[in-house]
Amino acid sequence: MATLNLKNLKKTYANGHQAIHGVDLDVREGELIVMVGPSGCGKSTLLRMIAGLEAITEGTLEIDQRRVNDLEPAERDIAMVFQNYALYPHMNVYNNMAYGLKNRGVDKAEIDRLVRQTAAILELDALLERKPGQLSGGQRQRVAMGRAIVRNPKVFLFDEPLSNLDAKLRVQMRIEIKRLQRKLGITSVYVTHDQVEAMTLADRLVVMNGGVAEQIGTPMDIYNRPQTPFVAGFIGSPAMNFIQAQLHEGALTLGDQTITLANPPDFNGAVVVGLRPEHMHRKPDYAHQLMLHIDLLEPLGADTLVYGRIGGSGDELVVRLNREFRNLDNQAILPLYFDCDELHLFCAKSQQRIN
């Protein structure tokens, strides 16, 4: 078990491109941190900086209170699972797992014990003599995990480890990874672009955007109180609706209607209003109402997604309704109800949360 501390980490490439603009993060012992964001947001670069595969331009990286900026990957006592697994194709499963231990000069009997023990945990016992080419995608993934686990590192790093698997296997492996991580209690950093994976795995989430950690927090925290429209739009599916609006003395003007907020923030001017698709309801048990002009229905079985626009504004909205509302008319105008507690208000200028 180890802590991992990132202090104002920055990365600038030789061509002047700044990929990481100063990230601070303190990972507790045994914690599973998920870094999530769209491609190009710098999440992989940050992970590779932790691994020692990319040089750190500025800032300090500590593993277990020890500065490791200038150490080779092998000296940092980390293990990494790669997206394409990067198994050595000419070595069998046993040797793939043993290679790192051999390089560290662990003696043969001990290597054998560790490899067999790890193989047992991952149910790889029967596959030890096989080469990677003879394994299925899921098995390869497990070998990649085994190669990381066998070394009993201080920190696990996962670089989109599930993105090469099909949807069903992905869910299965996701659960397995979480279970293993809990069991072994090893501090982990996990990178993914899949927000469902991020939400389900993380103890804490780091939402990255443009080389900056936009928000760090528990999944529910981030779901409930996103700090920026970017975070709000990235977490949750379907994505949060955004409506341009005006806020004046606690009165919010949305298209052709005005709502008086119960707990108004101290702010006047242009705002971006965020409202999650699942927070608009058919039943009139909520304080506020808006009229949706329906464009399109997408029945998903359990739910129905309703696409439309609100009167007096061009903003498109998507609403998630329970199945009993599937018999809706395609061109109807639908009254919808919501609570103003579930509105997310962001300053249009600074893109920061204001309520």
């Binding site: 590779r48 691994a51 020692g52 595969l53 080779e72 990957p73 092998a74 980390i78 293990a79 990494m80 790669f82 997206q83 394409n84 697994y85 990067a86 198994l87 050595y88 194709p89 000419h90 290679y99 790192g100 390089n103 560290r104 190669r147």
Partner: protein
């Protein structure tokens, strides 16, 4: 093919067999000639089938003196050819792999410069710079030595490019995984890269062995001492007898023996040979 036209298929087979026969004819005639006595060959009416002098002709050139023009046995010549071919093939593979490894997996100044310098060798085949190259080798005292026969020929842009091309197809994560596993550059080369390159090395070896074995002009230039003659160049020496009669019963078995090793390599390792041929042209 699409339609089942029997006569067309038959015709195709016929054309191919005709082609094969034409292609093989010189080899067959050489072999037949190598089994007859000198008199029989000189009579100008060579039979179509092998004669009874096979053992005599071959054993004489292999273990006795090949011909007055050469003065050593063909087994010595074959051994020299083998040393030269192996030296060139192994040398090329070793230094090209090292160079490609440096170019692909290391970041250093003048990387591009080194690359272009190696590329340039493609434009300078030995045939077009015969005399100055000869002078350099002579001034280094490498005439009549195995070093002189092999060393100047082992720089190879083709092999370097082949390895470079192959190394570039190795996912970068492979190197990263190795670094995380604590493998330094040398260990990565021997533990990961070398085993992964096995078939490429073998394919290249086949091509380069043939290239080395078949060298003609270079050994002709740098050897004066018959103890360093190779078999391919010696055949010309055996033919260049001025006004004397050519000893065809020596030349023909020597010719057959000169062809045999590379032909066997190609036929027995056909898959690797074809792979090497296609890849070195990329």
């Amino acid at each position: 093919m699409v339609e089942n036209r029997r006569w067309l298929t038959l015709f195709s087979h016929l054309v191919i067999w005709l082609g094969i026969a034409l292609v093989a004819l010189p080899l067959w005639i050489a072999f037949v000639a190598s089994t007859h006595s000198s008199d029989m060959i000189m009579s100008g009416t060579l039979p179509f089938w092998p004669g009874e002098y096979m053992w005599e002709n071959y054993s004489r050139i292999l273990f006795g003196d090949a011909a007055d023009a050469v003065g050593v046995s063909v087994s010595t010549l074959l051994l020299n050819s083998l040393i030269m071919a192996l030296g060139i093939a192994i040398g090329k593979i070793v230094i090209s792999m090292m160079a490609a490894y440096a170019i692909v997996f290391f970041e250093f100044r003048f990387r591009l410069f080194s690359f272009w310098m190696i590329f340039m060798t493609l434009m300078l085949p030995v045939e077009v710079r015969i005399i100055p190259t000869f002078e350099v080798v002579a001034s280094l005292g490498l005439l009549d030595s195995y070093t002189g026969l092999t060393l100047p020929l082992i720089a190879s842009a083709t092999a370097t490019f082949l390895f470079r091309q192959f190394f570039l197809t190795i996912p970068k994560e492979m190197l990263e995984a190795a670094r995380v596993d604590g493998a330094g550059p040398i260990r990565f080369l021997f533990d990961i890269l070398l085993p992964l390159s096995r078939t490429n090395i073998a394919a290249l070896f086949v091509i380069m062995f043939i290239y080395g074995w078949n060298q003609y002009l270079w050994p002709l230039l740098v050897t004066n001492d018959e103890n360093y003659y190779t078999v391919v160049m010696s055949i010309q020496r055996m033919l260049a007898v001025g006004d004397d009669e050519v000893a065809w019963n020596v030349v023909m078995p020597a010719t057959v023996l000169a062809m045999l090793p590379p032909v066997l390599v190609v036929v027995l390792m056909q898959r690797l040979f074809v792979k090497g041929l296609v890849e070195t042209e990329k």
